[in-house]
Symmetry: C2
Subunit: 453 residues, 2 copies
């Protein structure tokens, strides 16, 4: 075996279909319910918010969905993404494990998010939509959608959580470079925003509030639709190109993973990496352990309840069955903004209930500690979200060393941290707090979760 | 021809030698002179600052220098870098030109600088050096050297121009992530810094001052040496891997460039891209026009004089023959910090004198305008420095459209702009100033340039 550090695919080797895990599961996930009637929702309920093509993908029972040529053309700007073997990290950890990471930070927005923002923008443009609205926290999703809208000539309007809007002005600038309009949320542009501001004029906002604002704006205008960056089935579907490429890349060097670890916020990066490997596992072609890694401050899988809850704070979205800490729960301000979500993708939640994936929660200091080690060995400075996956990979590599076992570890480095250096500054200054599980805040939020008969 | 967007090389196709243009030139460049005696300097004069391997490369007459295996191992973390065809930009410009850009923003530090920081750190470590000092402006070079030092277990101490240190804290954090110590310059740690602070306690600093500080610290400690990120022959030598790869990549798609454009500050990115193509041109195998692009506010090639001058502000470095605006010249605060240097690499200056390369100067608003067009088409947000190259490429593409001619344009996108979004914010707000050529300031600085008989 040569001393390769990365395994590349040519554009001609890029997968041409996304993978839908649902038909391969022993049982389908429970359906979303109408927030008012509590009956299963149909396509008509979603039509004000999403184009028909995406609604179709949300409920499809096909195993594969072809990627349109116009989407592949844009994917080519950064895909196929590289798979790296972390040889220098392995050496530093003195481990017999072989560590591979699939790097999605090469996308224009610097994360895995364009894998879904591009097809979402494409399908909307194809159905004549003129504008997309969305919410964003730290800004990864907002910038990914801004980039995608620029590719297909769509307008893009983003509600960014006020605290991030003020603290991280550069993500806003990035969105504007790609032509988007960005508003702090809560804003006075929506009823949802005005209601929050009436209660608290200085509200720092939350993802749940920003979702409410973006959904309201889309619902009120026939030329405008809404785009969500995680949680939903079609979003996870688009992300499976990560795992499909990684399968091809590992095959090129005759490797089969023993363990997959991926960070989970809404679940799209984790689902994207793991679902194709889960297919192989269910078919008996390999047998990796597949593990979600979540922040100790917002541990929806390891501590949340599996029940129907809203996706947003104000209760405007359909009810989805998921592991939740309560839609009113506002997580402590950990730096992994993309993991600060009260729920988990229904599909990932379903897999967890079925026992097909495991989960663990890690505190942020351990994550940044692993990230510094990683950066000095491998060069790349990770975004705060994937530091959780790296910390879990480091744990695995140390276990392999203790056991004296060769193990193949695969993870996804879903974004770079060039716009998150303030978090590293705090870590290096010893000022990063390890928030524990907020038991009482969660208990209070769970009181507000509707009881579905 | 397939609809490829990028042309990749496998690691096994990476060039294994750097190219030295000097033996292929009709005349060698004039030698550097001792700052005191004005006699040509020898290896002993440079030994306090540089390891013997690099001094040897500075004066070598070999056409090729083998890249050590330990350097190739680190290069593999991001090299070979991709060559992109800017199909979406071509379409937007409605041009018959085919535009290619070699993208160096995939390196850990986000620019082309690690191509030389890595071998510089390697050769120093191999000769037993314990620490490297350097200067940095916006921080691209300082972060590249910090990364490289982490790879070979060297300490790294960086003097960052005070104005940038205060305005751009995130580059400092990036250097610290890789383990470096960073000081604002002027500092009270050196005689040079104390002398400046005595005159002006609030001095914003300059690259020339920071060089004086880093050189002083290295000269005073036998275990410490100094590293420079541009200008010198060995730096340009290391960067030729850019052009060598681009040659291989263009050959893969049967293309021969008609025009090369590259931005020039100290000249290392430009030299790195163009020298291998110049070799092909001098050998009669192709005939591209090769053009330097510099900022209108700091036009050392198009407006500077070709004569011996110092590399730093305080006159501690050897005298080198180059196009200079005077070592005391402090350019206006354009956002392309890496192009704010009073001189030009002696080798690039020599080529310009020989008529082997052309030059043009562009104002920063035209550059950012081109960069926004580029970002919306191609996704990548460029660093302020290569916006100059992009603006020149756009000019060429428009000329091709007017002439109705197919032309093949090659440029280097030498870094991403993720840490330069404040510049874009200003541009989008219409607050970017177009500084004209500062004739009087340059005339005053030129008065201080020593007269060599």
């Amino acid at each position: 075996m040569s001393e390769y550090s990365k395994i590349l695919l040519d554009e001609s080797e890029m997968p041409t279909a996304w993978y839908n895990v649902i038909p391969d599961l022993p049982a389908p996930p429970p359906p979303p319910l109408h927030p008012g009637t509590h009956e299963p929702i149909g396509p008509d309920d979603l039509a004000p918010l999403f184009p028909m093509a995406l609604i179709g993908q949300e409920v499809t029972t096909d195993s594969h969905v072809d990627i349109p040529g116009e989407v592949i053309d844009v994917y080519r700007l950064w895909r196929p993404s590289p798979l790296f073997r972390a040889r220098r990290l392995e050496k530093l950890l003195d481990t017999p494990a072989r560590i591979y990471y699939k790097y999605e930070g090469v996308s224009p927005a610097g994360s895995h998010k364009p894998n879904t923002s591009v097809p979402q923008a494409f399908y909307n443009a194809a159905e004549g939509v003129k504008k997309l609205t969305t919410e964003t926290g730290a800004g990864q999703w907002g910038s990914a959608l801004s980039f995608a809208c620029a590719q297909y000539g769509l307008e893009c309007e983003v509600w960014q959580v006020r605290a991030s809007y003020d603290q991280k002005p550069y993500r806003k600038t990035m969105m504007e470079v790609w032509g988007a309009s960005v508003h702090p949320s809560p804003s006075d542009l929506t009823e949802a925003g005005r209601a929050i501001l009436a209660q608290d004029p200085d509200s720092p906002g939350s993802l749940g509030i920003a979702i409410s604002e973006a959904v309201e704006m889309a619902a009120g205008d026939p030329d405008t639709k809404y785009a969500l960056g995680s949680v939903l089935n079609h979003v996870l579907l688009h992300q499976t190109i990560i795992g499909e490429e990684a399968l091809l890349q590992l095959a090129k060097v005759d490797e089969v993973p023993d363990v997959l670890v991926g960070c989970t916020g809404g679940g799209s990066n984790f689902g994207g990496l793991s679902f194709p490997f889960l297919r192989e596992k269910l078919a008996g072609r390999m047998n990796p352990t597949i593990r979600c890694v979540e922040p100790a401050a917002c541990p929806s899988l390891t501590r949340g309840e599996y029940r129907y809850d809203f996706g947003d704070t104000l209760g405007m979205t359909p009810l989805v069955k998921m592991h939740t800490l309560g839609h009113g729960f506002v997580p402590d301000p950990i730096h992994a903004g993309g993991l600060r979500y009260h729920g988990m993708a229904p599909l990932v939640s379903h897999l967890y209930e079925l026992g097909l994936v495991e989960a663990e929660a890690i505190h942020q200091n351990e994550c940044f500690d692993a990230a510094i080690t990683f950066a000095r060995a491998e060069g790349i400075v990770p975004a705060p979200e994937p530091t959780h996956a790296i910390a879990a990979a480091v744990r695995e590599a140390k276990r392999a060393r203790e056991a004296g076992e060769e193990r193949v570890i695969l993870t996804a480095l879903c974004g770079h941290g060039h716009l998150d250096l303030a978090a590293y500054e705090k870590y290096l200054a010893g000022e990063l707090e390890d928030y524990d599980y907020p038991e009482e805040k969660v208990a209070a939020a769970m009181e507000e979760v509707p009881v579905i008969a």
